[in-house]
Amino acid sequence: MTDILNQIAKTKQQKVRASLAKRKAQESRFRYYGIISISAAILFLVVLLSAIVSQGYTAFYTTEIKLDISLDKETLDLAEGELTQQALFQADYSRVLREAIKQEIAISGRKERKALYSFISTGAEYDLRDMVVAQPSLLGQNLSYWAQAGDLFNQYNKGNVDASVEEGSRSFKNQQIGWYKQLANEGRVRTVFNRNFFTNGDSRDAELAGIWGATVGSFYTLLVCFLISFPIGVAAATYLEEFAPKNKWTEMIEININNLAAVPSIVFGLLGLAIFLNLADLPRSAPLVGGLVLSLMTLPTIIISSRAAIKAVPPSIKDAALGVGASKVQSVTHHVLPVAMPGMLTGTIIGMAQALGETAPLIMIGMVAFIVDVPQGPLDAATALPVQIYLWAENPEKGFAENTSAAIMVLLAFLAFMNTCAVLLRKRLERRW
């Protein structure tokens, strides 16, 4: 009897032992799947960031060519006699630069001339103009001037042009490379920090295009968005959490807010187009409309996080206020809101960060226009940073691909800054009751 039982127990034991290895292998395999998944996601993040950094960091510097210019009145096409500000402003500075570069490199023929003139950016003459207008005493002098280089020259200097490609399929020709080498040997080429990228608006020329216009546009958009969504969001959250009776209506409002948080952003763009532009006749491409649309999008985020913050306020604080005779409104405005405010601000910063990265609804309301000027107020036509990225990404030129990556870096830096603020704020003001 016991023998049989022992036998059974033994076979059972053997079975379990045999299966144990398999189960352990399964266990570790399962574990590896998890590790692989996380590593894949993090690897992707690293690849994404490094691709963008490696492509875009070169946009932060640019090339200049040293030219010996002579600012005589003849080349400048200035009439003799009195020199008004106006005349100085309209003088022919491009000719000065062209003459100067012709002195460096001997050319013949129209085609060569054109190839050589492309070395100088169209922005250089305006820089020179500003310099002369600021210091009219420079007139008639000979001086050496560092002129902003044209896009192709700039790209070649940064090593973005592959010289081994067949000459026919690249736009920087062998002859130009020869000229470049000549200039470089004479020490006339230098690489400097690209100030234009941070101070200019958009441009058709990659070496002149900058993000300042888009940054200001983003700023106004976010400002409008904040001014609208923060007070309304906090008020709505306060009402729902503290005053609202629990009935069908408030339940409907709650469901609505949750649903709004999940509506695709482009639908908000359609709403903005139909209501703010077509019905209310607000100006197209304006940060005001962009801010309005984005504020409708960020409202749910702010309301949901503000409600969480209000919920976290211990009821004893409210009860104490009510106990000494404060009204409900007083207990909320004097006690609950100040305690919940850091949490609300954290949610608002996160909502603003989302709004800063949002592109699709802004495209719908016409913030994709090509705008060179820096907007002066929320009613001027403007673009925003992510829309600028989208616009540049469509451009096949190498210089713009570089600008796109650099603009992405700036945008990510802003986002990182905002999110860090949110995290620090939460850490600092987090209280345990």
């Binding site: 189960r23 352990k24 399964q26 266990e27 395999r29 399962f30 574990r31 799947y33 998890g34 590790i35 692989i36 998944s37 996380i38 996601a41 993090i42 993040l45 994404l48 963008i52 969001g233 008020a235 709505a236 306060t238 009402y239 005053f243 409907m252 409002i253 609505n256 949750n258 649903n259 709004l260 999940a262 509506v263 695709p264 952003s265 482009i266 639908v267 359609l270 709403l271 187009l273 139909a274 077509n278 409202l299 409900k328 409104v329 800063l356 990265g357 699709a360 495209i363 829309v387 990225i389 989208y390 990404a393 691909a401 796109t404 990556s405 992405i408 945008l411 990510l412 986002l415 999110n419």
Partner: protein
């Protein structure tokens, strides 16, 4: 003009606050301290300020909405019948008048000059009336508020009820937004369906929204079949989900069940960084790096007909974007499974993976499914990645290497640039928006229901 008016109104109401609270203080000190009053002086001030500013602001609001149409009807009433009855569109005539009035256009038609003069006169008159009336109203409010101050006045409850009203209105704004979306999109979509029958839209197999302006125009058939867009959207979403679902779920399981607190505290924020990256960045990456990579590697292994804008590239990148979304939602539901269930399974000799597979996951399944549905709705509504990486041609294909287009891509391309809003081409965008809204709303609704219902089980 308006901003000046607003500044003046604000100044008057600040005055009202100061005067009324001063008066309340004087009354109190004359009659034996603050206990003589019902409320604290600042409440009297606030009440006076509210009485001053609120009616004026309401009227200003109503005026801004309605003045344009009132002026239009007044101006059009003055236009001679001979002009009105010659068949030109009335709104066209009106915009002509406006252009003449603003000096954009010069004319020698007598009626047009008269009408524009009338228009300018009305505009100026309206502005003056508004200015005078609102300031008078505000001053009247100030005097009324000042008169109101007295020991019997229950200032605080009045102020508080106004505040409550404001809070209520703010929370109703969410509903108004939803209504705004539904109405604005629905209204334009109905105009579209008046031109293109609903059945053609829902069951048509061809999408080429370019409408022919001339009879002999090539490549402008004006076909509005929704099916190719839907299949394109679904294909990209499917590819995205087949990346995001396993990776996101496994990451969540690992982080929730295996990872040490230290690893978890590092990996979780890193995953969330993926969610914080703007989609335009993903789109740029997909178009610039991933799509060429896919094309080159596909041609290297001998697959023909790979287009440079493939569904695969957009889907893969979208999948990566959704990973943190799936993982954080799954993480929530997995950690919500009570520890006692795990302990029970472990004490019976199950390994951890067996516990997860046969106890934790089945218990968490409804929540996970709800999370996946939310992720699908996000994939369907995602715009920038597909706009930049998925292509524009509407292909009815099952080949992920080909270029397909999606609903959101078409909305963007239909509405970029200057367009008139009565051609089916632009109205089609609103029909697409409506379908997008309905589909994602339905998915969200179901998903939220599932998640909520599941959560209640252990509470």
């Amino acid at each position: 003009m308006n901003s000046l008016l607003l500044v003046i109104l604000v100044c008057i109401s600040v005055c009202a606050y100061v005067i009324a609270s001063k008066r309340a203080q004087q009354l109190a000190s004359a009659n034996g301290g603050l206990r003589y009053l019902h409320s604290r002086p600042s409440y009297y001030g606030m009440l006076a300020a509210i009485v001053t500013a609120l009616p004026a602001l309401l009227i200003l609001f109503v005026w801004s909405i309605s003045s344009a149409s009132i002026i239009q009807s007044l101006v059009m009433a003055g236009v001679p019948d001979s002009v009105l009855s010659d068949g030109t569109n009335h709104s066209l005539i009106y915009s002509q008048i406006q252009h003449v009035a603003s000096g954009i256009k010069v004319t020698d038609h007598a009626w047009l000059i008269n009408a524009s003069a009338h228009y300018q006169h009305l505009l100026a008159l309206g502005d003056n009336i508004k200015f005078a009336a609102l300031i008078a109203l505000a001053v009247a409010g100030l005097i009324f508020g000042w008169k109101l101050v007295g020991p019997k006045l229950r200032a605080r409850p009045h102020v508080e009820s106004v505040m409550r009203g404001f809070l209520l209105i703010c929370s109703i704004l969410a509903i108004l937004t939803t209504f705004g979306i539904v109405l604005s999109v629905l209204f334009e979509a109905i105009r579209f369906f008046n031109i293109i029958p609903l059945t053609d839209f829902l069951f048509g197999l061809q999408w080429s929204p370019q409408v022919a302006l001339r009879a002999d125009q090539q490549g402008a058939s004006g076909a509005f079949g929704f099916i190719p867009l839907l299949t394109g959207t679904l294909m990209i979403s499917f590819i995205a989900m087949s990346i995001a679902a396993p990776i996101g779920l496994m990451s969540a399981i690992y982080l929730a069940e295996y990872a040490s607190p230290r690893v978890r505290s590092i990996c979780k924020p890193l995953l969330e960084v993926l969610a914080g990256i703007p989609t335009v960045v993903y789109g740029f990456f997909a178009a610039l790096v991933v799509a060429p990579l896919i094309r080159d590697s596909a041609t290297a292994i001998g697959i023909e007909s790979v287009s440079s804008e493939s569904a695969l590239a957009a889907g893969l990148i979208m999948g990566v974007m959704i990973i943190p979304f799936v993982s954080s939602l799954s993480d929530d539901v997995i950690t919500a499974v009570p520890q006692s269930l795990r302990d029970g399974a472990l004490s019976l000799g199950a390994t951890r993976s067996e516990t997860i597979k046969s106890v934790v996951l089945p218990a968490a399944l409804p929540g996970v499914v709800g999370g996946l549905l939310l992720a699908v709705s996000r994939a369907i509504g995602e715009t920038m990645i597909v706009v930049m990486a998925a292509g524009l041609s509407a292909n009815l294909t099952a080949n992920p290497f080909e270029s397909v287009t999606t609903i959101t891509v078409q909305i963007v391309t239909l509405l970029i640039g200057d367009q008139e809003f009565d051609s089916p081409k632009t109205l089609a965008a609103f029909a697409l928006g409506l379908s997008l809204f309905v589909v994602t709303l339905a998915l969200n609704f179901v998903a939220l229901r599932i998640v909520k219902k599941y959560r209640e089980q252990y509470d």
